[in-house]
């Protein structure tokens, strides 16, 4: 029985289709690729052939243009198998999002074509000294004739090592602070370099690294929106994509719960399955309730994105709740498995390691509270 009972027929078919592919192409290699910290390109290619990398690209540009509620359900499904793979797979086309918001028709088609032809994108905002304080970035884009020349180093960039198309936030006018930042599409063969690769605690299938721009020249046609609009465009785009990324966290949590229920039915202590102890069954019940709440908050936020309404509360709430639920549920899952939960031979420790990042990236939970606090104080 599905966990979300309100799927329409198309959603049921797509989720079932995706589940089938993931069970054959991804599930058997999760342990190996998590250990190695590598992104499985073969699984990526199979999903691209089926069209899953185009779900967020409008039909006008050759994509499938699915609604965000459906995309959230699909993301959750991938999250159940491996959230790291899910994040990178999603980010592999996610670089187009700011272009869809603020680019020209030509830029949108250009970027879409690169993805449709098997390209992999990534989004470059964060730097070593500029994470939560994104306004503190130092990468510059200096105008030179009809071009811009980019210099700087981005850090903790998901898909850095595997991308061929980079969407980059850079300073075009230092005097203007966040109003002096602009977005550029930068193709790898313009000289983009990959720096230090991160060895991470979790979502290890998602490759993360520095991305280095040393006198990288891009034509003015690669500027997205007007000069100075970049920060605002990115903030708007991130608010829209946050709920969809958190759907992977719901997948992690659901998988942790399913494994815990199965284990609790089998594992016997004092002559009976541990699920018959209220101490355990109440924990499982709490986990179930938290996951339902997180999932439905994400569905609400996804629907708000599609409706074009104000996202401040929906996005920040969904982000914070879903990430906290994933952390709590996976921690409880390890507890239910006991000593075995702590062992790499059992799958729950990985889920707990994977869950942690969701409170950190896409804007830390503390930043979400800052945003919401500010929003409420102006209400």
């Amino acid at each position: 029985m599905e966990n979300y009972l309100l799927m329409n027929e198309d959603q049921k078919e797509l989720v079932a289709m995706l589940r089938n592919i993931l069970q054959k192409e991804l599930a058997p290699i999760v342990e190996e690729y998590d250990e190695k910290g590598e992104y499985p390109m073969q699984a990526h290619k199979v999903l691209c052939e089926a069209g899953f990398n185009t779900v967020a690209i409008p039909e006008k540009y050759g994509g499938l243009g699915l609604d965000n509620q459906t995309i959230a359900l699909l993301n959750e499904e991938i999250g159940k198998v491996d959230a790291g793979f899910g994040c990178s797979f999603s980010f592999s086309s996610g670089g187009i999002k700011t272009v869809l918001l603020a680019g020209t028709d030509q830029q949108k088609q250009y970027y879409a074509d690169r993805i449709l032809n098997g390209g992999i994108s990534c989004t470059c905002i964060t730097e070593a000294e500029a994470g939560s304080d994104a306004a503190a970035i130092r990468t510059t884009a200096v105008k030179d004739g009809d071009d811009y020349i980019l210099n700087g180093t981005k850090a903790f960039i998901s898909n850095g090592p595997i991308a061929d198309t980079f969407t980059v936030l850079a300073i075009t006018d230092k005097e203007k602070g966040t109003r002096g930042m602009s977005i550029f599409i930068v193709e790898k063969d313009r000289g983009v370099k990959v720096g230090k690769k991160e060895n991470k605690m979790g979502i290890r299938m998602s490759p993360t690294s520095e991305v280095v721009f040393e006198d990288v020249r891009v034509p003015a046609a690669n500027l997205v929106g007007a000069e100075g609009e970049g920060f605002k465009i990115f903030m708007k785009s991130l608010a829209r994509s946050r709920p969809l990324v958190m759907a992977f966290a719901v997948g992690i949590a659901q998988q942790a719960l399913d494994l815990s229920v199965a284990y609790a039915k089998e594992r016997k202590t004092f002559g009976k399955p541990i699920i018959s102890n209220q101490g355990v069954s109440f924990m499982l019940a709490d986990m179930e309730m938290q996951i339902q709440a997180a999932r439905n908050l994400i569905q609400y936020a996804a629907r708000c994105v599609d409706a074009g309404v104000d996202l401040t509360s929906a996005s920040a709430s969904a982000k914070t709740i879903a990430s906290e639920v994933a952390m709590k549920v996976t921690t409880d899952a390890v507890q239910i498995f006991g000593g075995y939960g702590y062992s790499k031979e059992y799958p729950v420790e990985k889920l707990m390691r994977d869950a942690k990042i969701f409170s950190i990236f896409e804007g830390t939970n503390q930043i979400q509270k800052l945003i919401l606090g500010g929003y409420l104080s102006k209400k």
Binding site: E13, V46, F52, L64, L66
Partner: protein, 261 residues
């Protein structure tokens, strides 16, 4: 090329359960799939279509729920689908089924080639494809893993335990397909959604040139009397002496003691 593919919807046998009272399959709650050998057959058919051009018609004899299996086939390359369904077909054994499918061939044809899976994983008889060929007086090659069409002939790789033969047959022909060297393709999101929106036409006994006595229970010379999970046998007696002669002597002694010889 005009291609016909016959498929069957079967229970996903990794989860098969038998009702100990009625000796029948418990189907409720058991997921249904397209018979795996039929998926290989369809994959071969689609590759043939991609190479030689043409159209693929897929048919399945079964209840309404088999429409899901037909739509799955549409989503991976079949062009048309028909559900062959009628109360009169209920209880058909392989012979009766093959008669119905032969009648369907005559109604929807002519076809250059018919693909079937080598056997259904619930019945495991492997009879329907060859029986169809006999009814229709077509050439047949069973248990193939690969084929090509050249000058109105099919050349197919026919698999055996010990190896394979290359067999040639004149078209039109029926082939039954075993596991191919490649996995069947996945549908795409577009093809899946498009297939779901298709209405699958039904063909009933009234649409076919076939006598009612030749189908269903009446038309089935074989009947399933009992389906059961065999009891696991004990280990038996192991005889392993120093020499073959010594083992044979020991065996004889045991047989005599038990009055078997």
């Amino acid at each position: 090329m005009n291609i016909l593919v016959c498929v069957k919807q079967v229970p996903d046998t990794t989860e098969i359960k038998i009702n100990p009272v009625t000796n029948t399959l418990i189907r409720q709650g058991v997921p249904s799939i397209v018979n795996p050998f039929d998926t290989y057959a369809l994959e071969l058919a689609v590759r043939l279509k991609e190479k030689n051009g043409g159209e693929i018609t897929v048919v399945s004899m079964g209840p309404d729920q088999a429409i899901a299996a037909l739509k799955e086939c549409l989503s991976v390359g079949a062009d048309k689908a028909y559900l062959i369904t009628d109360r009169a077909f209920g209880g058909s054994d392989t012979l009766a089924t093959s008669r119905v499918l032969a009648a369907v061939y005559k109604k929807l044809g002519p076809f250059d080639i018919v693909f079937c899976g080598k056997q259904a994983i619930d019945g495991d008889t492997g009879q329907v494809g060859p029986e169809m060929a006999e009814h229709l007086k077509l050439t047949q090659i069973s248990n193939i893993s690969e084929l090509e069409i050249q000058d109105c002939k099919v050349r197919a790789q026919k698999e055996f335990e010990e190896g394979y033969e290359i067999v040639e047959a004149q078209l039109p022909t029926i082939v039954t397909v075993t596991k191919t060297p490649y996995e069947p393709r996945y549908s795409t999101i577009k093809s899946k959604l498009a297939a779901n929106r298709t209405t699958v036409e039904k063909i009933t006994i009234a649409d076919l040139d076939i006598e009612a006595e030749k189908v269903g229970l009446k038309g089935s010379p074989t009947k399933v009397k009992k389906t059961f999970t065999p009891q696991a046998k004990g280990g038996g007696v192991v005889i392993s002496e120093d020499s073959g002669m010594a083992s044979a002597k020991k065996l004889c002694a045991l047989l005599v003691t038990d009055k078997i010889v």
